[in-house]
C-alpha cells in the first residue's frame, strides 16, 4: 500500500488556473457495436489527446471551452465532434468502417495515430483483417502463424508449438485470451493455433516495455481480445477449409445493450475418412475442435459485464479408451465500472486449465493411464485514473492460485495396481502494481511503474534435497522433508520496475527507450527440439528459483504521411536473464519425482536489432521486417561452462508481407520468410559399446553448428463474391481463398540427426553411421477455403 501512496505523491499537482471538465465515453463500431481498442482522440485546438483502452473507454479532462474532437482509427472514417464544455460530458461515439462504405467513396484524409507519436514501443498490433489476408497454411487464417511475420518473432520450424520472441523460449511468453492464460496455444502440435479468427477482435504482442499491470513471463505478452458480438443485428460467419470448418453466430440479446458470440471450429478429416477406416468406426478419433463464447451486458452507463469462455481439445484415440488428448479451457468474467468520469475500473476473474490424458491398454488387468494438468484461479482488479490530458494513472493487483498435477499415473500389471502419481503442487502468486503515463512537455513523455510480486508454495508436499554434483552428472537425493497441508514451503518476493520514455524529436519522428524487469515463477519443462503437448509446467520451489529478466530497449520511429503512408522503426534490445533452466544430460522430465534434481540453472543473454518498414496505404501495401539477433545461455555443466547459443537462436530473420488489390474482386497476397539456420550439436567422433555405435563430441560442445537456412514463399489469391445481384446490393458476403504454402517446394531443414544404420550387424563387422536432414514439409501445399458472412 505504501508504494501506492508514494506514487500518488509523485503526481505533479497542477495549479488550476481555470475550471476543468471531463469528457469521457466509449468508442464503438457503428455496424456491430463492437468497442474499438486504441482509437485516438485529438483535441484539435490544443493538440492534446487520448486513446481508448482495452474496453473502448476514453477520458479527457480539459479547460471549459468549445473544443473540436477528432476520433480516428485505422480502417475507419474520421469523425469530428464539436462540443461546448460547460460540465462533465459523456460522449459515446460510433465510427464507420471503411469496409462498410460503398466503393465509390474514396477515403483519403486518414489520420490514425502513427507509431512515431504514441508511447508504444516493442509492441505489434495485428488486426484480424490483416490476419485473414496473410497467406495461410492449409487455408486457415491463423493468429500465431501471422505473428511469425513480425520483427523479433520466430519459430524453430513447422510443427513446433508456440513461438519465440527476442530470443526467449516458448515457455517465456504469456498468452492471454480475454485475460485468461492459455498454456498451450496450439492445435495439432504447432500447425494451427487455438484462436478462432472469427471470434478475435484484436491481438497485441508486447515484446518489451511491458506495462506494470502485466507480469509473469520473461519474453513477451500476447494479449488476444475476443469480439463482444454484434449488438445491432444478427451476423453469421463461417468457412469451409481443407482442415477445419468453422461457424460463428453473433447477435444482440437486447439491441445496443447486450450481445453474444458463439464460434466453433472442428477438423473433419476423421468425418470424411470414417466410412473407409475401421478404427474410426470402432470409437477411434482423430480430431481437434474448439468453442469460443462471449456475452456482454451494458447494465447501465457506468457498468458493463462480460463473460467469455474457450474450450478446445485435440484427440488422437486408437479406440474408445486408448489414446491421447489435450486441451485448454478458460473462462473469464469481467465487470467494467465507472466510479466517475475519470476513474475507470475493471475487475476480472478467471478460471483456466490445461490438461492432457493418455491411456494405453484396453485390458482391465494390464493398462496404463496418465493425466496431468495445470489449473488456476485469478482475481484481478484494475483501475485507470485519467488525471488530466497529460497524466494517467493505472494501479491494481492480481492474485493467482495455481494447482499443478504433474502426473496422475496408474499402471495395472497383471491385475496389480501401481500408482506412480506425483504429488500435487499448490502455489499463490500475488502482485500489486501502479504506474503512470505522463506527458512531461511537448517533447518528452514518460511511462513508469512498479510491480511487486509475491510467490509462495504451500504444502502438503515433499521437498527433496540433492547433492552438489560435478557439472553434467545427474544429482542424487540426499534428504527429504515433508510439509503439512497449508504449510508454507518456500516464498519469493520481487520488485519489478518498468520505465519507458518517448522523445518526440520532430512531428513525425521519435526516440523511445525502456527498461523492464520481469519475473517468471512458472517454468515450461521441455528439452525436446520442439515444445510439445506433453511438456509439463513446473512452479518455482525450494529447488527452482524464479527466472529474472532485465530488458533494455532503444528505438527510433518515423512516420511519413501524405499521399502514401509509411512507417519505419529501428529498435535495439538487450535482455539479461538469471536462473534460466537447462537440463542435465540424460534428464528424465516425465513422471519423475526427482525432476528438480535433473534441472540446471544458468544465465542467459539475448540481444539484437529489429528493423521494420511498412507501407500502410495504396493498392500495394505490406511490410518488410528484419531482425539481427543472438540468444545464449551459460550453464555450469554444459558446453564446458562457456556461453552457447540456444536451440532457437537465429542470426538473421527477414520477412516480407505484401498485399495487392488486382481488381475489385481479386486480390493477391504473398509472404516470404528467410531465417538463418538454428543451432544444433554435431558429434565429432564415434565409438562402440557392446555393439552399439555411440556419437561423441570430444570437445563437449553444445549447439556448435547451425543447420542450413530456412526460406519459404507463400502466395494466396482471394476472390470476393459478387457484391451486387443485378443492381441490388447483396446482403450476404462471401469469398474464396486459394493459397499455396511453400510455393517453390523447398525442403527446409528442421533438424539433422545422427544414427547408426538400421541393418543388423554381426559381431566383428563395422557399423555404418549417417547424418540425416529432416524436413517437416518438403512440398508445396495448396489449399482452398470458402468463407461467408450474412
Amino acid at each position: 500500500m505504501r508504494i501506492f501512496l508514494l506514487f500518488l505523491l509523485c503526481i505533479p499537482e497542477f495549479v488550476l488556473a481555470q475550471q476543468k471538465f471531463t469528457i469521457s465515453g466509449y468508442v464503438k463500431d457503428v455496424s456491430n457495436g463492437e468497442v474499438l481498442i486504441g482509437v485516438s482522440i485529438l483535441v484539435k485546438e490544443m493538440g492534446v489527446g487520448a486513446t481508448t483502452n482495452e474496453y473502448g473507454f476514453y477520458s479527457l479532462t480539459l479547460p471549459a471551452n468549445t473544443v473540436t474532437l477528432q476520433y480516428s482509427y485505422i480502417g475507419y472514417l474520421n469523425t469530428t465532434k464539436t462540443v461546448s464544455l460547460t460540465e462533465n460530458l459523456r460522449q459515446d461515439i460510433e465510427l464507420t468502417s471503411e469496409a462498410n462504405q460503398l466503393e465509390e467513396v474514396v477515403i483519403k484524409d486518414k489520420e490514425d495515430q502513427p507509431t512515431a507519436t504514441n508511447m508504444d514501443m516493442s509492441t505489434n498490433n495485428l488486426s484480424i483483417s490483416t490476419i485473414t489476408k496473410i497467406p495461410t497454411f492449409m487455408g486457415e487464417a491463423d493468429v500465431l502463424r501471422s505473428l511469425l511475420l513480425l520483427p523479433g518473432v520466430s519459430t524453430v520450424g513447422e510443427g513446433a508449438s508456440g513461438f519465440n520472441v527476442r530470443g526467449g523460449s516458448v515457455g517465456q511468453n504469456l498468452v492471454l485470451l480475454d485475460e485468461a492464460p492459455v498454456y498451450n496455444s496450439s492445435h495439432l502440435f504447432g500447425f494451427f493455433s487455438v484462436f478462432n479468427p472469427d471470434a478475435v477482435k484484436d491481438t497485441k504482442l508486447y515484446k518489451g516495455a511491458i506495462p506494470s499491470r502485466y507480469g509473469g513471463r520473461l519474453a513477451s505478452l500476447l494479449d488476444v481480445r475476443m469480439k463482444e458480438g454484434n449488438s445491432k443485428k444478427m451476423e453469421v460467419n463461417g468457412g469451409i477449409g481443407t482442415v477445419f470448418s468453422r461457424l460463428s453466430v453473433e447477435a444482440p440479446i437486447v439491441k445496443d445493450k447486450a450481445s453474444f458470440i458463439v464460434a466453433a471450429r472442428r477438423s473433419y478429416i476423421d468425418v470424411l475418412a470414417r466410412p473407409f477406416v475401421e478404427l474410426l468406426q470402432e470409437g477411434g478419433a482423430l480430431s481437434f475442435y474448439d468453442l469460443t463464447m462471449k456475452a456482454n451486458y451494458n447494465i447501465s452507463k457506468k457498468d458493463r459485464v462480460y463473460a467469455s469462455g474457450y474450450f478446445g481439445r485435440d484427440r488422437f484415440m486408437f479406440d474408445k479408451q486408448q489414446g491421447f488428448s489435450w486441451g485448454n479451457a478458460t473462462s473469464t468474467l469481467r465487470w467494467n465500472h465507472l466510479f466517475n468520469d475519470k476513474l475507470f475500473s475493471n475487475l476480472t476473474t478467471v478460471y483456466s486449465k490445461y490438461d492432457y490424458k493418455l491411456q494405453f491398454g484396453d485390458d482391465e488387468r494390464n493398462k496404463f493411464s496418465w493425466n496431468s494438468s495445470i489449473s488456476n484461479f485469478i482475481v484481478k482488479p484494475d483501475f485507470s485514473y485519467f488525471v488530466n490530458t497529460s497524466t494517467e494513472i493505472n494501479f491494481g493487483g492480481e492474485a493467482i492460485y495455481y494447482s499443478f498435477e504433474p502426473a496422475n499415473a496408474v499402471g495395472v500389471s497383471e491385475g496389480e495396481t501401481i500408482d506412480v502419481s506425483l504429488e500435487k503442487k499448490y502455489n499463490l502468486e500475488a502482485s500489486l502494481y501502479a504506474g503512470s503515463t505522463q506527458k512531461v512537455n511537448s517533447i518528452l513523455s514518460l511511462d513508469y511503474g512498479l510491480r511487486f510480486s509475491h510467490f509462495a508454495s504451500y504444502g502438503p508436499g515433499t521437498v527433496y534435497s540433492y547433492n552438489d554434483t560435478i557439472p553434467g552428472v545427474r544429482k542424487t537425493v540426499t534428504g527429504e522433508k515433508t510439509y503439512d497441508k497449508g504449510e508454507t514451503i518456500a516464498t519469493y518476493n520481487n520488485f519489478q520496475p518498468r520505465v519507458s520514455f518517448k522523445a518526440q524529436v520532430t512531428e513525425s519522428s521519435s526516440i523511445k527507450g525502456s527498461y523492464n524487469r520481469m519475473v517468471q515463477y512458472l517454468h515450461l519443462i521441455s528439452n525436446t527440439t520442439a515444445s510439445n503437448p506433453l511438456d509439463v509446467w513446473s512452479p518455482t520451489s525450494k529447488n527452482i528459483k524464479p527466472e529474472l529478466g532485465d530488458q533494455f530497449t532503444l528505438g527510433y520511429f518515423k512516420s511519413l504521411s501524405g499521399e502514401q503512408e509509411y512507417e519505419f522503426s529501428a529498435e535495439a534490445y538487450y535482455r539479461a536473464t538469471q536462473n534460466q533452466i537447462d537440463y542435465i544430460d540424460g534428464a528424465d522430465l516425465l513422471i519423475n519425482r526427482y525432476l528438480e534434481g535433473d534441472l540446471l540453472a544458468g544465465k542467459g543473454r539475448a540481444y539484437g536489432i529489429e528493423l521494420y518498414a511498412q507501407k500502410k496505404t495504396g493498392k500495394i501495401n505490406g511490410w518488410v521486417s528484419y531482425t539481427l539477433g543472438r540468444t545464449e545461455l551459460q550453464v555450469n555443466g554444459i558446453n564446458r561452462g562457456e556461453w552457447y547459443p540456444t536451440r532457437y537462436n537465429q542470426t538473421h530473420n527477414l520477412k516480407v508481407a505484401a498485399f495487392y488489390d488486382i481488381t475489385k474482386r481479386w486480390s493477391v497476397s504473398a509472404d516470404f520468410v528467410f531465417s538463418s539456420g538454428t543451432p544444433t550439436t554435431f558429434p565429432t567422433s564415434r565409438y562402440l559399446q557392446q555393439g552399439i555405435l555411440i556419437p561423441y563430441n570430444v570437445n563437449d560442445s553444445r549447439n556448435n553448428v547451425t543447420i542450413p537456412a530456412y526460406h519459404r514463399l507463400d502466395v494466396s489469391f482471394r476472390l470476393e463474391g459478387k457484391q451486387y445481384k443485378g443492381a441490388k446490393l447483396r446482403k450476404n458476403r462471401d469469398y474464396w481463398v486459394f493459397s499455396f504454402y511453400n510455393v517453390y517446394a523447398r525442403k527446409n531443414p528442421f533438424s539433422i540427426y545422427f544414427s547408426q544404420s538400421d541393418e543388423r550387424t554381426l559381431p566383428g563387422q563395422p557399423i555404418d553411421s549417417q547424418a540425416t536432414q529432416l524436413s517437416i514439409i518438403g512440398t508445396i501445399i495448396p489449399s482452398i477455403s470458402y468463407n461467408f458472412k450474412f
Binding site: L188, F191, G284, L286, F316, F318, F324, F360, G361, N366, G411, S413, E414, I418, V420, V473, R474, N527, T528, N532, L534, D585, G586, D588, L590, R593, Y594, T681, F682, P683, T684, S685, R686, Y687, L688, Q689, Q690, I692, I694, P695, N697, V698, S701, R702, N704, K747, S751, Y753, F754, S755, R760, G764, I767, A771, T772, Q773, L774, S775, I777, G778
Partner: protein, 308 residues
C-alpha cells in the same frame, strides 16, 4: 515414455498429410584428437571375459575401430582382494581377455566391489563397479494376438521374473532371437526395480508389461507390413543382467542418443549430448577416456515358439 511419443507422432504424421522428407547428408565435422574408448561389460559367469580397448574414430569413419595394443588391464575384486589379469589377444583388435582356470572360477559374487585398472599410452585409467543381484527368470511365454486394425496376427513374447524387495536394483534386459542378439539402439531395455525409472514405486513386483514384452523385435517387411516378432519354430533366449545405477543412467542416455527413428519423432527428440563415462584418468590433467565398466550377475532362460 519415448515409445509413447513415437506412437503418437507416428499417428499424427500418418493423418496430418504432412509430407515430411529426409535426406542423408554429408556435413563436415570438427577435426579432433581421438581418445581411448573402453568397452568393459563383464559378468559372473565362469566363461571367457572380454574387455575391448580402442580409439574413438571420426564419426563418419565406417571402418572397424582401431584397437589399442600393449595395454595392461587388470580387474580387482576389492571385496576378496583377488586380481584378475586380462591378456591381450594376438590380432584381437584391442581385445583383452581373462579365461577361468576351472569350470567354477568366477570374478566374484553379488555385492562384491570391483576395480578396473588400465595402463595404456602412458596414462593410467581406473573405474569402479559393484556387482548387483539378479532374480531368476521364471518363464517365457508367447501369446498369440489376433489381428487388429494396426497389426496382423502375431506372437508376443514376454519374460516373467520378480524384482527382489529393496529399492534400487537396476537391470539390462538382453534378448537373443535365433542366435542373433537384439542389439539395435531401439532395443535397449533397462529397468529400475520392476519399472522404468526411479521414484516409480515398482519395487519387489513382477516386471511391468512394457518391460516384460521388451524382448520383441519390431520389424517391417520391405513393403512396410509389420512382421510378427516370433513365429513357430523361432527361439528366444532372455538374459537379465544386473547393472550399477551409473550403468543404468548410462544406458538410458545411450538409448536416447542412439535411438533416432527420424521423421516426425524428431520434434520430440532430445538434443544431442555426450553420454557419461565411469572411466577416469588417475591424473586429472591427463588424457580423458570414454566408455563404461560394469560387472554383472546374470540369469537367463530360453524357449522355442510352438504353433498355437
Amino acid at each position: 515414455m519415448k515409445k509413447i511419443l513415437y506412437t503418437i507422432s507416428f499417428l499424427v504424421a500418418a493423418v496430418a498429410m504432412i509430407t515430411s522428407c529426409e535426406t542423408v547428408i554429408d556435413p563436415e565435422l570438427e577435426k579432433v584428437q581421438n581418445v581411448l574408448a573402453v568397452d568393459a561389460w563383464i559378468n559372473d559367469k565362469p566363461d571367457k571375459q572380454t574387455i575391448m580397448l580402442a580409439m574413438t574414430q571420426s564419426y563418419f569413419d565406417n571402418s572397424l575401430p582401431p584397437g589399442v595394443s600393449g595395454a595392461i588391464v587388470t580387474v580387482t575384486n576389492v571385496s576378496t582382494g583377488k586380481i584378475f589379469s586380462f591378456k591381450e589377444v594376438v590380432g584381437g583388435k584391442g581385445a583383452y581377455t581373462w579365461v577361468p582356470s576351472s569350470a567354477t572360477e568366477v570374478l566374484g559374487k553379488s555385492r562384491d566391489n570391483f576395480k578396473l585398472t588400465i595402463q595404456a599410452q602412458g596414462e593410467t585409467y581406473e573405474s569402479y563397479s559393484m556387482m548387483g543381484r539378479v532374480p531368476t527368470i521364471d518363464s517365457l511365454t508367447f501369446t498369440y494376438e489376433e489381428e487388429s486394425s494396426f497389426f496382423p496376427a502375431y506372437y508376443n513374447a514376454e519374460f516373467w521374473a520378480t524384482d527382489p524387495i529393496g529399492i534400487g536394483d537396476t537391470y539390462w534386459i538382453r534378448a537373443v532371437k535365433n542366435d542373433t542378439l537384439l542389439n539395435r539402439p531401439s532395443e535397449i531395455s533397462v529397468a529400475f526395480d520392476a519399472g522404468f525409472s526411479n521414484g516409480g514405486n515398482f519395487d519387489g513386483i513382477q516386471f511391468i508389461p512394457p518391460i516384460r514384452s521388451s524382448v520383441n523385435p519390431f520389424e517391417q517387411a520391405d513393403d512396410g507390413t509389420f512382421l510378427s516378432p516370433y513365429d513357430p519354430g523361432d527361439s528366444l533366449y532372455v538374459e537379465l543382467q544386473s547393472i550399477s545405477l551409473a550403468a543404468y543412467n548410462y544406458l538410458t542416455q545411450v538409448s536416447v542418443q542412439t535411438n533416432r527413428p527420424g521423421g516426425f519423432s524428431e520434434l520430440f527428440s532430445s538434443p544431442i549430448a555426450n553420454v557419461s563415462t565411469n572411466i577416469t584418468n588417475t591424473n586429472a590433467n591427463g588424457k580423458k577416456a570414454v566408455g563404461f565398466f560394469n560387472v554383472a550377475s546374470i540369469s537367463g532362460l530360453g524357449k522355442r515358439v510352438v504353433k498355437k
